[in-house]
């Protein structure tokens, strides 16, 4: 470190103070010049719509712009008594639970397997990661075909074993599982990569020391690897819960939220209230209710992670 050149002298003459003020103004000017392109987009396409949405949520605004008068908390009260809203919210939470657990546990298992240094490493990495690069539409096209009741590969293979065909996307008891399986296939690559990168940052010496102490492979897994991965796991769980709560694409395209609303997510309900029901105000109110849940989840995670790292 060089000695700071711009340390203020003990006594500043008026001229120097004036110069400093000017310098500060210059800094502010150049700071904003650098930040401005981002700040403008951020303001126009995030701050404005967030505030505008909040305003809309208190109105009866529709597509045509009629009925845009202030309703107070009318939309919120309606949403809280709307069985479809609760059903969609329940589906979303159920999907989040069903998808987060395997997306964390299996991605770790896959990363551990690939990290063993067995032959064909790049190929395993490729096959687990490749689906992550696909657009939701492509994923849905592949899987609608896999799940096709009459012609799909899954029922075809099951038939070879004498199993009766399953209505993967049409049976309300199965549809959510099918959506979760598709999601697992599609997105596991991201968590897998994060775990793989983290695994390779565990210092080799730790394993050597453990091996000298006579710790077996499984013992090493539970006493070194998994504890070392704790920060990564916390990050992955956080990102995964937030991603799962926002599910829309694959459900909307695989099942349209059916059968009988059994897979409709909250984002789909927001979309439908706004863009097929044309109730912009009501849709915005549900958005804000859902946002409140996301904030609560984020705060809870933040506290959990901080408590853990403090301990």
């Amino acid at each position: 470190m060089s000695t700071a050149i711009d340390t203020p002298p003990a006594t500043t003459t008026p001229v120097v103070a004036e110069g400093k003020k000017q310098a500060r103004r210059g800094e502010t000017l150049s700071g904003w010049a650098f930040a401005a392109p981002f700040a403008v987009l951020f303001f126009l396409f995030l701050v404005v719509p967030a505030l505008y949405g909040l305003y809309l949520s208190f109105t009866g605004e529709t597509l045509t712009g009629s009925g845009g008068k202030l309703l107070g908390f009318g939309n919120y009260a309606e949403a809280l008594q709307d069985p479809d809203m609760w059903h969609s919210l329940g589906n979303t939470l159920w999907f989040t639970l069903l998808s987060t657990v395997p997306l964390v546990v299996l991605s770790l298992a896959f990363a551990l397997l690939v990290n063993l240094g067995l032959p064909g490493r790049w190929l395993w990495r490729l096959s687990f990661f490749l689906p992550y690069l696909l657009a939701s539409t492509v994923v849905v096209m592949f899987w609608s075909w896999m799940y096709n009741p009459k012609l799909g590969l899954i029922n075809g293979v099951l038939a070879e074993f004498g199993v009766a065909p399953v209505a993967w996307l049409q049976d309300p008891n199965v549809a959510m599982i099918s959506v979760v399986v598709t999601t697992l296939w599609w997105t596991i690559g991201f968590n897998f990569l994060l775990y793989l990168a983290a695994l390779q940052n565990i210092p080799e010496q730790q394993f050597e020391a453990a091996a000298i102490d006579g710790a077996g492979k499984w013992r090493q897994l539970f006493s070194i690897v998994i504890p070392q991965l704790a920060p990564t796991t916390a990050l992955i769980v956080t990102l995964q819960i937030l991603a799962s709560l926002k599910v829309f694409d694959q459900i909307y395209m695989l099942t349209s939220g059916g059968p009988a609303g059994s897979t409709r997510s909250i984002v789909q309900y927001i979309y439908e209230s706004g863009f097929t029901g044309y109730r912009f105000g009501y849709s915005s109110a549900i958005s804000y209710l859902f946002f409140a849940i996301i904030v609560l989840v984020s705060l809870a995670q933040y506290r959990l992670i901080n408590r853990r790292s403090a301990a």
Binding site: T28, W32, A50, Y52, R125, L151, L239, I270, G274, S287
Partner: protein, 294 residues
């Protein structure tokens, strides 16, 4: 120099010396990997196989690996001559490149300001950006769509691009990276009279190429594959991006399964090919930005 190709984030790790490379447990692990890897490739393989069949064979109710009509590229020819897919791919490319370019440029500039310049209002803006990271864009679709109507940007490229062309998380990632660059490197240039923009352009940016590439890759993949916003803001079939366009026709193909799969494969192809060429960079980019997102 095999360490060079896989180092930097993904070093190649093989069995340790003295350990039997073909112990029973390693063979068992390999078998599990083979089964899992194959399972993960099945949906691709099945789609490719279907796309190469005739429509009659694809719609036959038995799973056949050896269809009576044989294999051909007929379905691809039909899909491509129908004409929409190349146009949608072009729309996807234009919008994704624009989104990536604007996002990287604005995030780098803002990240630099947060890292190096002390300006009035900095703390407020920074706090706003951090708070914004938890706002899911999905929740803003209704007000954003109203705004687009007001700006007359519905059914335009800019309507697709602008709401996706900034990323608060990327500003934070880049700020953190710039924080690690020694200020002394810039001080020398500044003493020589170079202004901030010049220092940023000729000293900071060249040092930041890897992280800029990582951010660009991450943003590009997200933009190329994004569905909900382009789906909402485009109704004109000529302006649709690939994911949105495919969604509108996938039901129109009806029972033409071979063509349906051919169009899915065509849509998947560009990113898959890019990935095969730049695998190492892309994986590293995803891992870096994934970790940096917090």
């Amino acid at each position: 120099m095999s360490t060079y190709t896989l180092s930097r984030g993904f070093k190649k790790q093989t069995h340790k010396p003295g350990e039997n490379p073909w112990s029973v447990s390693r063979i068992a692990a390999l078998l599990v990997l083979v089964v899992l890897g194959a399972t993960w490739l099945v949906p691709f393989a099945w789609a490719v196989l279907t796309s190469l069949k005739s429509e009659a064979d694809a719609g036959a109710s038995t799973i056949s690996l050896n269809p009576p009509d044989g294999f051909s590229f007929e379905a691809y020819r039909k899909v491509l001559s129908a004409g929409d897919i190349p146009a949608w791919a072009w729309n996807s490319l234009i919008t994704s490149v624009a989104i990536t370019f604007i996002t990287v440029a604005t995030s780098a500039l803002a990240g630099y300001a947060f890292s190096r310049v002390s300006f009035a209002g900095k703390r407020w803006l920074y706090a706003a950006i951090i708070a914004a990271i938890i706002i899911p864009p999905q929740l803003l679709i209704v007000p954003l769509f109203r705004q687009m109507l007001a700006f007359d940007l519905v059914d335009t490229y800019w309507g697709i691009i602008l709401p996706q062309a900034f990323a608060p998380a990327m500003v934070l990632i880049l700020k953190r990276f710039f924080d690690q660059i020694p200020v002394e490197l810039e001080d020398a240039a500044r003493v020589d009279g170079a202004n901030r923009l010049r220092v940023f352009w000729s000293i900071v940016l060249p040092l930041s190429r890897p992280i800029l590439a990582a951010v660009a890759i991450f943003v590009f993949i997200g933009a190329w594959n994004n569905f909900l916003w382009p789906f909402i803001v485009t109704t004109d079939a000529e302006l649709m991006t690939l994911p949105v366009g495919l969604q509108t026709v996938k039901s129109a193909y009806g029972l033409q399964y071979a063509q349906n799969m051919a169009s899915a494969i065509l849509a998947a192809l560009p990113l898959v090919v890019v990935f095969l060429f730049f695998q190492r960079h892309i994986i590293k980019g995803i891992a870096t930005t994934g970790f940096g997102g917090q």
